[in-house]
């Protein structure tokens, strides 16, 4: 199943990567990720005074010899990283060549696989006019096939409604969130990004667009039909009107980027004609999301 979404060679290359967070996180289970908690690991974190009840195995006897006081050695706890993936599969994503929804699934799968390979916990949420849970959190590399199958099973369609994402986001434990969307919903994504900040989510917004919508490849008279709402309008494409569209799209992209940066999130605009490998190895590493 995994092979159907991502090629084995790509998966092998993804295994060498890991998700990166700027601050320590707390998970529910041990993992390979630094936690805000003090725990058992080889990485020294700090000293603190001994208080009765503390594990006396952690008393630093060398410090006692120098200071004549009991000092406890604290170590960084290593825990799992909770990764939340929000994938837009609204009607507008079923557009373009290569198809945006297909590319979004593949990109989400690649990011999820990196997390699963590092024993991080992955929660998948697909959204259009409302959120659809991707089931229980996935953990471990063996869960990848299950996650990929789940990703591919979601239908594409419906009207984008970012407001409906606010509540599922608010329930997230602090961790890493990645939103994959074309960002074209109306009203814009700002409300969801505020929710991410409040939920102490690090992460990124990845705007995925088809090359044909970045630069329209047609001109002349047409009846335009909205992929999500089905609304229609007569239109004449000229250099002037196409320029106006390109400007509007650029403004929407800039608006999303500004909102993301303001909420401490990273932002990247991706084109579906870029290979998944190049997106992951290039854009996402440059963004500091993967390392």
């Amino acid at each position: 199943m995994a092979a159907a979404l991502l090629e084995p060679a790509l998966l092998r290359r993804l295994e060498g990567l890991a998700l990166q967070v700027r601050r320590a996180v707390s998970g529910q289970m041990g993992g390979e990720r630094r936690s805000r908690k003090r725990g058992q690991s080889v990485e020294f974190a700090d000293f603190r005074n001994y208080t009765p009840g503390d594990d006396f195995r952690l008393i630093d006897w060398n410090a006692y010899a120098r200071l004549d006081r009991f000092m406890l050695r604290l170590f960084v706890a290593e825990e799992e990283l909770p990764l939340s993936l929000f994938v837009d599969l609204s009607g507008s994503m079923d557009w373009g060549t290569p198809n945006k929804a297909v590319t979004a699934r593949r990109l989400a799968g690649a990011i999820a696989y990196v997390a699963l390979a590092a024993l991080d916990r992955v929660r998948l949420t697909v959204f259009a006019d409302g959120p659809t849970s991707g089931g229980a959190p996935y953990r471990g590399r063996r869960a990848a096939a299950q996650l990929f199958a789940r990703l591919q099973s979601f239908p594409v369609g419906g009207v984008t409604n970012y407001q409906r994402l606010v509540w599922p986001i608010a329930r997230q434990r602090p961790g890493l969130s990645v939103v994959i969307t074309d960002g074209l919903g109306d009203p814009p994504i700002d409300g969801a990004l505020v929710a991410l900040q409040r939920a102490q989510q690090e992460g990124a917004v990845l705007q995925l667009l088809a090359p044909q919508e970045i630069v329209p490849d047609w001109s002349g008279d047409a009846r335009l039909k909205d992929a999500e709402t089905g609304l229609e309008r007569e239109f004449t494409a000229t250099p002037l009107t196409q320029g106006a569209y390109v400007n509007a799209l650029a403004q929407r992209t800039a608006q999303i980027e500004r909102a993301a940066v303001r909420r401490g999130l990273r932002f990247a605009r991706l084109s579906t004609d870029t290979a998944i490998d190049a997106m992951v190895q290039g854009t996402l590493r440059r963004l500091g999301l993967l390392g």
Binding site: W95, L184, A210, L224, A227, T229, R233, L240, T241, A244
Partner: protein
Amino acid sequence: MTFLAPAAAALALTIPAIVALYFLKIRRPTRIVPALHLWPNQIRDRQANVPWQRLRPSWLLFLQLLAAAVLVAAALQPALPAGAALARHSLVLVDASASMQATDLSPSRLGEARRQVNAVIDQLGPSDRMTIIAVGPTARILASVTGDRDALHRAVNEIKASNGPADLSAALILAAGLVRPGDDARAYLFSDGIVQPLRASFAAGLPFPVEYHRIGVSGENVGLTSLTVRTSAQARAAYLHVQNFGQQARSVSVEWRADSRLLDIRPLTLAAGQAQDLVLPVPADATSVTARLGGGDVFALDDSATAVAKTPRAFRVLLVTPGNVFLEQALRLRADLQIDVVAPAAYRPSAAYAMTVFDRFAPPTLPDGPVLVVDPPAGSALAGGAALGIGRVRAVDAGDQLLANVDLQDVHVARSQDLRASTFGRPLITSLQTPLVLVREEPYRRVLFGFDLHESDLPLRIAFPILTQNLSEWMLPPSVPSHSFHPDEPVTIVPEPGATTVSVIRPDGSRRPIAPGSIATFGDTDIIGAYTVEQVLAGRVQRSWFSVNLFSDSISQLKPPDRLTLPPTRTTSTQATHHGQLEIWPWIALAALGVVAAEWLAFHRGL
């Protein structure tokens, strides 16, 4: 406003056609887009293939309708009524006389006249015709009965001002010759009104009305109106007459030169209208004297004057008479004539005399050269018929230069030979009974008086010495003329017997050859200044001089009259004058081009 091509209004059908095209609806392919709200609400119908749709407001439609409307307007060739009333045949008389060189208007009066005439040409309708006549010392047709505007503009722009007067009479005669009876014609005179007096021949009127368009504003001018050199027993002196023709006092300087040597510069202040005479001694060796006014005014042509300072060469004249003190004294008034008087019996033909005067005597054969014969005896070849009783006398042509300043009002002749059958020449003075004085040009200039001077009171009148002077200077012009010539005035040049080459050197240095052997009339006197006549006589160069100056009070006074007395109109047909038309369609066509360009731009910008 009138339309020169009203049939072009049919082209207005294009306007509803354009609107109709916009009613047709386009068949548009459906395109699914991810987010319709990002696409601007722009629609434009480029092509129609489905009827019908609601008409949408569109910049393109507006511009196309505007372009069509403006093009139709241009095709109608609208024309605005212009100021001047034009006839079907406009006779434009442009004053090209000396006074039109005045610069009181920029660039000059002639330049302003050219501008105004060009404006009139632009108002010509498609069926209008125009004739352009330049009015100078002679009248010249520059464009004859044509509607070709380019040719008319060219003709007007080629007009150059002469240094001479404006012979309006000649121009009107010329114009009248171009108008057929019944023609709708009108003449437009663009002039400063400083023209020669009209001849009496216009009493019957002209077949067209004449409009006077005054050109010029100022009469402020100081000019030299006379410069002569007189020789007295002691010395020679130049007499200069300077006059301020303006209404304001002027300070000028007068610069004197003998040949090219500076003699003197004198400051001079003249009140409004004041004239002053200046006298300056002339060096004995000077050939010419030039006076020049400094200070500058609007008319440069009368600011310099030249006079010949050389003493005229003497001519020997033989007077054959039984005794005529009147004739002898009148001839002796010319300082350059040496008069030898002989009785008829003593007469022997001699080549030494430049002119011979026979009084009551005629030899069997007249000598070669100028001859004046008075009352030839009966039986001679020149004698007329039996004597007739004569009363008052009159001039055949009062404007004849040979009778200039000759007043025949109180002249009477008792008896005269009957010269009615004489073939001697044309009559100069006549009476009711018979011509009295005949003149001829060929082969030599000769004069025949049919009456004995003693049978008339003519010798007792002031007219006699003047007439004698005129006739003798006509027959035998002095080597240095006693007066200055006016520009374009013909000058008679009498080559010396035996002269091999004769030429005239003009003030600008150009040389004009003259055929030797006979009296010549030299007409290239359009430039003011000193002219030199060179004759080669047996290998020796002999020079004589004459000067050409403006010397015209009427021209120098410069002030254009508000009204000009023009001949009456002899109306032969209804004057169907119409206002000239100023065609504005080129401007409308230009605007149409602008609208079409805007439409093209709008189309490509996708408006």
